[in-house]
Amino acid sequence: MSGVIVRSMSKSNLIYLGVAAILLILPFILTGRSIQFMITQIFIFAIFAMSYDLLLGYTGIISFGHAMFFGIGSYTTAIFMDRFDASFGALLIAILVAVLFAAIVSFIVGILTLRLKSHFYAMLTLAFAGLFLVAAEKWRTLTKGNDGFTFKVPEFLRDSTTIYIVSLVCLVLIFFGLRRMTQSPFGRVLVAIRENEERTVSLGYKVLHYKVMVSVVSGVVASFAGVLYMLSLRFVNTSVFHTDVTIDVLLMTIIGGVGTLVGPILGAALIELAHHWISGLADVHWIFERWIILYGTVYILVVIFFPLGIVGTIRSKLSGGSKRKSPSKKKAG
C-alpha cells in the first residue's frame, strides 16, 4: 500500500518537475519582455495564493487581510532598495526584515484571534489591513503616499529573463516545501483542525499552537511573494494593501481548488490571464473597468456552486465521487 503511494507520489513529482522544466526553457523561446513579465506575475501570485491556501484550504482559517503581508513584503523591499544602494546585500537584508516583520504581525494577529471563532480572524485581518493601508497613505516621508515611487533593484535582477527564472525557482522550491509540510504530521493536524476542531482538541493537540504556526508560515510566504513582486515591478504604491489584492488571492485559491496547493497555482494563472484580457477590453466598453463586479460575481457563484475548485473537483471525480465533502465545510461555531 505504502509502495503504491510512494510510486504515485514520485509520479506526480515527475509531472511537476517536468512542467517546471518546460517553464524553465520557455523564456528562451518567448523572448518578449511583456509576456515574460506576465508569466513572472503568475509565478509570484501563485506563491502568494499557495500561502493563502495554507490558511483557507488546509486549516479552515479565513483571512481578509492577506494583502497586508504581501504589502509588508513589497514596501520593505521598496524602501530598502530606495534608501540604500541597490546592492545584493541590501536586498538580502530587505528580505530578512520583510520576513521577520510579516512573522511578527501574523503572530500578533494569530495569537489574538485564533483562539476565538473564525469570524474574529477574518475581521481582525480586515481591520489590520485597513490600518496598514492608511499607514502607507499617511506616512508620506517613508512611503511617498498614494503615488508611490519607483526604485532600482540589484543590477543582475534587472533582466526580465533573470527575474522570471528566479521567480520560477522560488515557486518550485516553495511548492515542494509547502507540500512536504502539508504531508507531514504537522499538516495532518492542520487538516484535522479544519475537519473537526473540537475532536482535535480532545485528541490532545494544542490547536492554537498549530493555528498560530500556520498563520505565521502563511504570512511569511505571502511577504516573500511581495518581495518578488517588487523585484519584478520596481514600483510600489498603496495598491498592494488594497482589498482587491486579497480578493484576487481568494479567487485564485478558491477557483483553483482549496487545500490542494496545485489549485492556487492554476488559479493564479487563470486570474492573471483574465486580468490581462479584461484590461485589454477596457477600451471596448467602460464596464470592463469595473472588473471587480465580474470577479465578485464569479467568486460568489464559485463559492456557492463550485466550492471544491478546479483541482478539487477533478480529484473528487477521479476518486470516484467519493463521500468527500467540501473542504471548507466546517461545523458552525
Binding site: L56, G60, I62, F64, L112, T113, R115, L116, K117, S118, H119, F120, A122, M123, L124, L126, A127, F128, G130, L131, V134, K138, W139, T243, I247, L250, I254, I287, R290, I292, I293, Y295, G296, T297, Y299, I300, V303, I304, P307, S326, S328, K329, K330, A332, G333
Partner: protein
C-alpha cells in the same frame, strides 16, 4: 470647554452612526451566527440612493425614507440570494458576503459614477445652536437624537413585545425556538432586513455629516462597525451602543489631538478587549 464639548458631540454623532451599522450586524450575528461582511455595502447603497433622492427632490425626509426602503429591499436580496444558499456553512458565508460587499461597492460606481459627491445638510438642519460659549452643530445633535430614539425603540421592541421575545430567544438558542413552532428562518429574514435598513439609514445620515460620499467608505466604515461588534460583544445589542459611543469618542478625540492614530486607537481598544475579555464587554444575555 468649547473644544471638549464639540469633540464630544462629534464623537457621539459618529458613535451613533456606527451604532446603527453595528446594531444590525450584531443582531444578525446573535441570531444566526452570520457575520455579514456585506453590511458596508448596504450602508453605501443607503447613502447613494438617499443622496440621489435628496438631490432630485430636495427633501431630506424623503431621502431618509428612500434609503430605508433601499436597505429593506437589499437586505431581502442579500438574505435570499447570498446568505441562504450557503446557510449553515460558516466559511462559505464569510467568503460570500465579502464578495457581495465588493460587488455592491463596484455597482455603486456603475450606477452613480465613480467620483466623490459632495452633500450638505438640509436648510432646517444647517447651522448651530449657541449654548453659552459652546457651539453645537444642529446636524450632529440631530444624528444623536435619532440614534438614541432608535436605540430605545428597538430596545423596547426587543424587551417588551412578542417579536422581541422571539428574537432574543433565538439569539440564545435557535433550535429551541424552532422546536416551539416558530419559523426562525422567517424571523431571521425580518431581522436581516431591519438590520440592512439600519445600515442604509446610517449611510444616508452619514452623507451630510461627513460632507462627501464615495464608494469605498462602506468598507472603511464597516471596519469600525466590526471593531464595535467585537468590543461590545457579538450578539449584544446594548453592548454595541456602548462600544459605538466609545469608538466614536475615541475617534473624535484622537482625530483632533493625534490625527495619524485615529484608526489605530480603535484597533488598540479592540486588541485590549480581545486579550482580556474576548467575549466582549457585554455578555449576551436574553
Amino acid at each position: 470647554m468649547d473644544l471638549i464639548a464639540s469633540l464630544t458631540v462629534n464623537g457621539l454623532a459618529t458613535g451613533m452612526l456606527i451604532f446603527l451599522l453595528a446594531a444590525g450586524l450584531t443582531l444578525i450575528f446573535g441570531l444566526m451566527s452570520v457575520l455579514n461582511f456585506a453590511h458596508g455595502g448596504l450602508f453605501i447603497w443607503g447613502a447613494y440612493t438617499g443622496v440621489w433622492i435628496y438631490y432630485v427632490t430636495n427633501s431630506f425626509l424623503l431621502a431618509i425614507i428612500v434609503a430605508i426602503i433601499t436597505g429593506l429591499v437589499l437586505g431581502l436580496i442579500t438574505e435570499r440570494l447570498i446568505i441562504k444558499p450557503v446557510y449553515g456553512n460558516h466559511i462559505q458565508q464569510i467568503l460570500i458576503t465579502l464578495g457581495f460587499m465588493l460587488v455592491l461597492q463596484e455597482l455603486i460606481k456603475v450606477v452613480f459614477g465613480p467620483d466623490v459627491k459632495a452633500v450638505s445638510p438640509p436648510a432646517w438642519l444647517e447651522g448651530s445652536f449657541q449654548l453659552g460659549d459652546v457651539t453645537l452643530i444642529k446636524y450632529r445633535l440631530f444624528i444623536i437624537v435619532i440614534g438614541f430614539l432608535l436605540f430605545f425603540t428597538i430596545y423596547l421592541i426587543l424587551k417588551k413585545t412578542r417579536i422581541g421575545l422571539i428574537v432574543r430567544a433565538g439569539v440564545m438558542n435557535r433550535e429551541m425556538v424552532q422546536t416551539l413552532g416558530i419559523n426562525i428562518r422567517f424571523v431571521f429574514m425580518a431581522v436581516f432586513m431591519v438590520g440592512a435598513a439600519l445600515a442604509a439609514l446610517s449611510g444616508v445620515l452619514h452623507a451630510p455629516y461627513s460632507g462627501v460620499i464615495y464608494a469605498e467608505m462602506g468598507l472603511e466604515f464597516s471596519i469600525l462597525a466590526f471593531i464595535v461588534v467585537v468590543i461590545g460583544g457579538m450578539g449584544s445589542f446594548t453592548g454595541s451602543l456602548f462600544a459605538a459611543i466609545l469608538v466614536g469618542l475615541a475617534q473624535a478625540f484622537m482625530a483632533y489631538y493625534v490625527p495619524a492614530l485615529s484608526l489605530a486607537v480603535n484597533m488598540l481598544i479592540m486588541t485590549v478587549v480581545l486579550i482580556f475579555r474576548p467575549q466582549g464587554l457585554f455578555k449576551v444575555k436574553g
